[in-house]
């Protein structure tokens, strides 16, 4: 089984953690896996993209354009930026919440959420768009947006493993004091796309 997942967001949103959890879960069911992430402190607040490739054997960790099966978008504009990675029929799970970069506050560039939302609706075949940041806040912190997205992904019958398996890996990776909050975020993400 092969599955290529792109995770797009803003540095500091927990992009790396999300891709590591997805990858470790794949490794534990015996699939060869590769990930690519943008690492480093100085990526804070910058556009970042992680890539997870399950079952890709001899290929690089970088997904070619037009080949990704799934896009997890942690931030609206970053989701749009990553659309070129998607193949026809790919599933997009996207956070409708926005993070305005300093460049917008300073007037060097602009951010038009309605235009971006319209583009996503028109140009993607299977879109789940909801305010994941609000759900994360509901769980206790905006920082759990990544877990909301993983929860949503776990409902859609795309992963080569069960939601329980993904949740178990997540629980193992997250420090105990943050576990409850992240589990709640995961559960809220599931509900957001109609899961239990």
């Amino acid at each position: 089984m092969r599955l290529d997942i792109v995770i797009a967001g803003v540095g500091g949103q927990g992009n790396v953690l999300a891709s590591r959890i997805l990858a470790r879960a794949a490794m534990e069911v015996g699939l060869p896996v590769r990930t690519s992430e943008v690492i480093g402190m100085a990526q804070r607040e910058g556009a970042v993209m992680s890539q997870v490739r399950m079952g890709a054997g001899d290929y690089s960790a970088l997904i070619p354009n037009g080949q990704a099966d799934v896009l997890l978008g942690l931030e609206l504009a970053e989701t749009v930026r990553a659309v070129t990675k998607l193949k026809k029929g790919a599933v997009v799970i996207a956070n409708s919440a926005t993070i305005y970069p300093v460049s917008v506050s300073l007037g060097f560039s602009s951010y038009h959420p309605e235009q971006l939302t319209a583009f996503l609706k028109e140009r993607t075949d299977s879109l789940y768009l909801f305010d994941a940041t609000s759900l994360a806040n509901q769980a206790g912190t905006y920082k759990a947006t990544n877990m909301v997205m993983l929860g949503a992904l776990s409902v859609l019958d795309l992963l080569p493993y069960s939601a329980d398996h993904l949740r178990a890996v997540m629980e193992d990776v997250i420090p105990p004091r943050l576990r409850e909050m992240n589990l709640t975020a995961f559960a809220l993400g599931r509900q957001a796309v109609g899961g239990a």
Partner: protein, 600 residues
Amino acid sequence: MKKLLMGNEAIAYGALEAGVQVVTGYPGTPSSEIFTTLASLAKERGFYAEWSVNEKVALEVAAGAAYAGARAMVTMKQVGLNVAADPLMTLAYIGVKGGLVLAVADDPGPHSSQNEQDTRKFAQFAKLPVLDPADPREAKEMAREAFRLSEELGLPVILRPTTRTCHVCQDVEVVDKTLPSRGHTGFQKGPEWVIFPSLAAQRHIWLNQQQEKAREMLETSPFNTVSPGTGRQGIIAGGVAYHYVKEALALLGLNLPVLKIGTPYPLPVNLVLRFLDQLDRVLVVEEQEPVLEDQLIKLVWQHRRPLVVKGKYNHLVPREGELDTDKVKGILAKFLRIDLPPEEAMSQPPLPVRPPVLCAGCPHRASFYVFKQAAAGSDAIFTGDIGCYTLGNMAPLHAVDTCLCMGASITIGSGLQLAEKERRVIAFLGDSTFFHTGLPGLINAVHNGSKITVVVLDNRTTAMTGHQSHPGLNRNAAGEPVQPLDIAKLAEACGVPLVKVVDPLDYQAALAAAREALEFNGVSLVVMRKECVALVKERKAPRTIDAAKCIHCGLCIEELGCPAISRGEQGPVIGATCTGCDLCRQICPCEAITEGGVIR
């Protein structure tokens, strides 16, 4: 057992499996996690690991251990090898007893480097074997094998991963247990350790002979493999490019023979010649410099092979930047004269630009702002250095006018001041950078009567590369307590007549210190001491803006460029990422910013 490992972690496990005894290094993206992984295991596995002051120091410490027969690894990024070049070039003549492996990470792109230099070229220049891993699994195997190769040849060996090996993860089989201690032979005194010119003359002959011996050993290396294919056109791929070639061929539905080269220097020429036997045309796909291609062209000429070689010299393969599968697909199509269907053009709506910025609450923002205020109205030049704070170059701070290499803020500043006698020069560098190569520049400035102000952005860590220790801290790489070196006292001991230490987030005090330093006629130094916001455990509540008091002057947004502050419909808004650093409150002209947010 299998682990999901980043390439850098895999290299660390390879060194562990080789029984590494001494590990040194200086942090630098994309190499840093090789060392941090090893440092985290050093105590329980019983080996030694130190963050050294800089790469030259690191290499010499590792070499000393290898002189005594210990296995040593030294880690750095590509530009770090420039700092270590002096010991490296002669160490190749002296040689080593214990295996010595330099893990030097290259950064084509570049993603987080000041240049795209190719360490394979450096290896050729130093006459040392170099291994070029395609992925984390191979990186681990190469790290282990590099020690054996080093000992058999008596030469340091370079392991050169690139960003896409360092920072990608793969499921990797590891031996996750403590291996029996290797022991070492000890240092035996003799003339072979003292590089007099007469010894250099002899050893140069030996070093040149070792090139041939290394080539023979690498002819049968498992890191060079042939994937059979059909037809009389083939591909030679180096390092990470191998995976791009494999996927691009699959996407094009082609089955060409591919020779993967993991040992770019010395090139296993007999293996390459055998591969060429079946071919009329060959394409060389490698990132950065034409290291394989140059050697191949030479080989084809020497052996009078009637072969067409394509690659960088006919501009098929770029010499700059990174490759990826999409680029390689295009290159293959051109090489094979295949017409690809035109890319479906996707017209995206305009997207906001989103470069990395200084974090919300970063004390560097305050330091830059303070000095900009103190120097306001003058034509001061702000020289910069390598670290998170290079981001101070960007709008709205515009407080980094130059950046060249580690430690150059002070020295470039001294030079500028010689030619620009009427302008104030303010040199910014971080605490770790100060120890790395800043200190000689400071001594030079004092000795030669430079008139500059040095600002040490002392955030109590090496932040950009992931929070490593340095000599100014009370913990070393292994987490053991050590005596910290005091930057202010060091500056005083170097003869700097005016030294100030201040908290940059105490705006008025910092401004007063900055003004005093700028007024001083000679070398002045201000230590802006405040812990990196990413290390602060205790969160303060975000500030809030009282809309009734805000006069919409825009100062907080337009002067600071803090990512936690954005424009709302009713004026500026402070978001949840605010750390309560309080800088904006202190500069707000109408006291509209207050405490009172909620910690999330």
